[in-house]
């Protein structure tokens, strides 16, 4: 009998993933065109969290715009504040005193740890390793408690100020933080025992979402996503700010540029962060925490405003007119936040308000590379790719 081949009916399927899908880490929407399980085309849609930060900043004084920057990448708010403060300081031509710089370095690295903890927790959860999530949130809680001890806020801190930091650190805080840096590397080992040699984890991360060094540079990637491809680019090393030139740390690099290498990079980075924090505590110099020019930039303490004539005048002028007029010019200052390179491009027209404040958000750039990573891969790997670029949509949409 003759065998007749019956043609199989196949068609491409378009699937809208998100914006409320739990593994898109916020309100990211991907439209996937699927051929079976293979992703033929991936189109990201962002903008659901657009709040117009850049436009808002144009109508505010340099002082008022500071809390806007917390809300960009809300899980590493401290690093955003520091980035903004550095940009404004550079514009005005002032510098924070030694002690403040060490404190800032310290809190930036605490933020890096807490951001990477969230990343490993959610990334592992997406890929099916739920235990890591539960363990790592224990350490995140510890860091948030330390933040609360330091400045009273846990999430949107607004702790750094233009020309320094808001308040000094207490000995108890430093003690507690030092204990944390001693304890934390052991905790990282705990996470690693859970997933590092896990066959499922390896199969789902090795060789997935590969991007070569040249492509990564061409796409403008930064942070661990770039270093996972083996490019030695770290803003902390190339343009040292605050106290980064005074502490020793290594920049971990990957080789293959896949999900697994980026995971290794971030895990190593957390160890280096603990190392930086410990050095900062050991080297922390005595002295003021605000620049001597502080009255021109930052509100004086409340009790002084009520008792001291000079402080009250400064308070009044700062609220009504904003800080001393900035010199006319434009400046781009980059800092290494947990996600990558955060740049502030500020155009000043010689008044107390920024004429234009542009935020170069790493998440925005990283989200744009998603189609490159996902196309040609499997649907399941889309999840791995979203996790590995570590985006926060608050920063992406601004």
């Amino acid at each position: 009998m003759e065998r007749v081949e019956k043609p199989l009916q196949t068609r491409e399927l378009t699937v809208s993933m998100g914006p409320q899908h739990p593994s898109t880490h916020g309100v990211l929407r991907l439209v996937l065109e699927l051929d079976g399980e293979t992703v033929m085309k991936c189109t990201p849609y962002v903008g659901y969290l657009h709040r117009g930060t850049e436009k808002l900043a144009e109508g505010m004084t340099y002082l008022q715009a500071l809390p806007l920057t917390d809300r960009l990448d809300y899980i590493s708010s401290m690093a955003n504040n520091v980035g903004y403060c550095l940009a404004v300081e550079r514009l005005f031509g002032i510098e924070a005193p030694e002690r403040a710089r060490f404190i800032r370095t310290m809190v930036c690295e605490m933020t890096r740890i807490s951001s990477h903890i969230i990343w490993i927790a959610t990334h592992a959860l997406d890929l099916g390793a739920m235990t890591v999530f539960l363990y790592s949130f224990r350490e995140r809680e510890w860091i948030l408690d330390l933040f609360e001890m330091l400045c009273g806020a846990r999430l949107t801190v607004s702790y750094p100020r233009i020309g320094g930091v808001r308040n000094d650190v207490s000995p108890e805080f430093l003690d507690s933080l030092y204990t944390f840096t001693e304890e934390f590397p052991k905790r990282i080992e705990e996470y690693e025992t859970l997933i590092d040699k896990n066959r499922i984890w390896l199969r789902r991360t090795k060789g997935i979402g590969v991007i070569s060094a040249e492509e990564a540079i061409n796409w403008g990637l930064s942070g661990p996503v770039l270093r996972g491809s083996g490019v030695n680019y770290d803003v902390r090393k190339r343009f040292p700010y605050d106290a980064y030139d005074r502490v020793e740390f290594d920049v971990p690099l990957g080789r293959n540029g896949d999900v697994y290498d980026r995971y290794r990079c971030r895990m190593e980075e957390m160890r280096q962060s603990a190392r930086i924090i410990r050095q900062c505590i050991e080297q922390l110099p005595a002295g003021p925490i605000m620049t001597p020019d502080a009255p021109k930039f930052t509100l004086p303490p409340k009790e002084k405003v009520l008792a001291d004539m000079e402080s009250m005048i400064h308070h009044f002028v700062l609220i009504t007119k904003g800080p001393m007029a900035a010199p006319e010019g434009e400046i781009y200052v980059a800092t290494e936040v947990p996600k990558g390179e955060l740049g502030f491009y500020i155009v000043s027209d010689g008044t107390g308000k920024p004429y234009r404040m542009r935020v170069r958000a790493p998440s925005f750039v990283h989200a744009s590379v998603l189609p490159k990573l996902c196309e040609g891969g499997l649907v399941a790997d889309v999840i791995a790719n979203i996790g590995t670029i570590d985006i926060v949509l608050g920063e992406c949409d601004r």
Partner: protein, 177 residues
């Protein structure tokens, strides 16, 4: 290479295109005409002594009523190999707000250009996919322009009504508890 030296190299190669060089706090901005922008970018990218392979940032600035040419598109460039930086600024007039896309040179420019189009209405010629990115597709006006009010547009966004109508239509499917 020193930033001012880089500016000199650009001026040497494109004497008519460079409109000015400004240094502020150690950062150098090179103001150029937009006509041969792509050529200049290719030169900066390919010239071995310059090798600007990394586009840090691309954004627009609106100088309404302050400068004769209204818009500027700002390119912040960096070289991984030589570790130097320069800022390129292309003047874009209000009557023809368009400029050549640099996506063929730096792939990362794609979304930055889309955002610039979305916010300022500057059209990037030969861009692979020029659509609005942060605002809804049917939004009217360009929010980051200086003549656009920060308090919101005078009239309501039409898409919002559609969303409300759709929500009304789908009401029967809501969970009653």
């Amino acid at each position: 290479m020193e930033p001012l030296e880089i500016a000199e190299r650009i001026r040497e190669r494109f004497p008519e295109e460079v409109r000015g060089v400004v240094e502020f706090r150690g950062q150098v901005s090179v103001l150029i005409r937009k006509e041969r922008l792509l050529e200049i970018c290719r030169f900066l990218h390919d010239e071995p002594a310059l090798a600007f392979d990394y586009l840090k940032d691309l954004c627009g600035v609106d100088y309404l009523g302050r400068r004769p040419v209204r818009f500027e598109v700002v390119y912040t460039l960096y070289s991984m190999k030589h570790r130097h930086m320069v800022r390129l600024k292309a003047e874009v007039g209000e009557d023809d707000p368009s400029v050549e896309s640099v996506v063929p040179v730096w792939a990362g420019a794609n979304w930055h250009e889309r955002e610039c189009y979305d916010m300022f209405g500057i059209v990037f010629n030969n861009h692979p996919d020029l659509r609005r990115i942060l605002m809804p597709e049917d939004w009217e006006g360009y929010p980051m322009r200086k003549d656009y009010p920060a308090e919101g547009p005078e009239k309501e966004w039409q898409g919002f009504r559609k969303v409300l109508e759709k929500a009304e239509r789908l009401k029967e499917f809501t969970w009653k508890g």
